[in-house]
């Protein structure tokens, strides 16, 4: 390969895995956190609905 091109690529190609990892990890971590929070929210809302139902049933007795 042309030595000047090799010199240019020497700072580009080897940095790619680190660059891709940095961007991918940020997005992946934020996405995982959103999923955890939304799942927790849905679970708590479901528990609240069950509790409301139980209270209503108790009131009807």
């Amino acid at each position: 390969m042309n030595p000047i091109l090799a010199d240019i690529y020497s700072t580009v190609i080897p940095s790619a895995p680190y660059l891709i990892a940095a961007y991918a990890l940020v997005w992946a971590a934020l996405l995982v956190y959103v999923i955890i929070v939304v799942r927790g929210l849905k679970k708590t809302e479901a528990q609240m609905a069950v509790l409301e139902e139980a209270v209503r049933a108790k009131g009807g007795d």
């Binding site: 790619a16 961007y23 509790l51």
Partner: protein
Amino acid sequence: MAKKTTRVPEAGGWPDAVAVPALIAGAVLTTVGFLMAFLWAAPVNGAALSAPELVGDVMVTHQQLISQKIFYFHMPVAIVSFVALAFGAYYGIRFLMTREQRFDTCSRVAMEIALLFVVLTMITGDLWTRFEWGVWWTWEPRLTTYLILMLIAIAYFVLRNAVDDPERRATYAGVVSVIALVDVPVCFMITRLIPSSIHPVVAREGGMSPDMAATVFVVLAGMMLVGYGLYRLRFREARLGERLQALKDMLE
């Protein structure tokens, strides 16, 4: 004289209504910022080449430091971590002043968001460090003070889990959140206070070109919106959990 009532934050209303749109807008803006970073913002020049070379239709005269593009996510994520820590400490102080548990909930959620962004800052910074400096870790002043900040944020949650009494737990947590905030200006200023620090400083290196600044601004706006959206969603979940527990306690 009427007693002054303390307004406490509550889930619901417009702040929660805009949480999901804020998250979506944040995702869009960070994606736009990512594209700007790679397709628009000029790469930073490294060492001069022995001779110019035509690549595509561009005459290249220097090595291109592509790893610098990590900066476009690294810096905004770090700023959001500082903002979240400031909110964590603010609500921690409000709790210490009023003893209102709701402020402790706000502080805990803000500290959780802060820890997430602190860890992301460490990871993105470390990946850059590994490529540019050839090591995963060095006891450089900025890295060291930021590591201390991360350890304080982790200690905050360790402490919370170690104390059973809610009042004492919230008091200790409030104090730790303030200690974490004290480290923020130290982290920020350390590269200026210790000029031998090898961590890159934008101002010291001639500032940002308009294309770099615009890219950072877009990603920063996106990350702020993501941080806000995450905070409101997590706060809503936490408050719902507290109300559920209170109802269960009443029924038992």
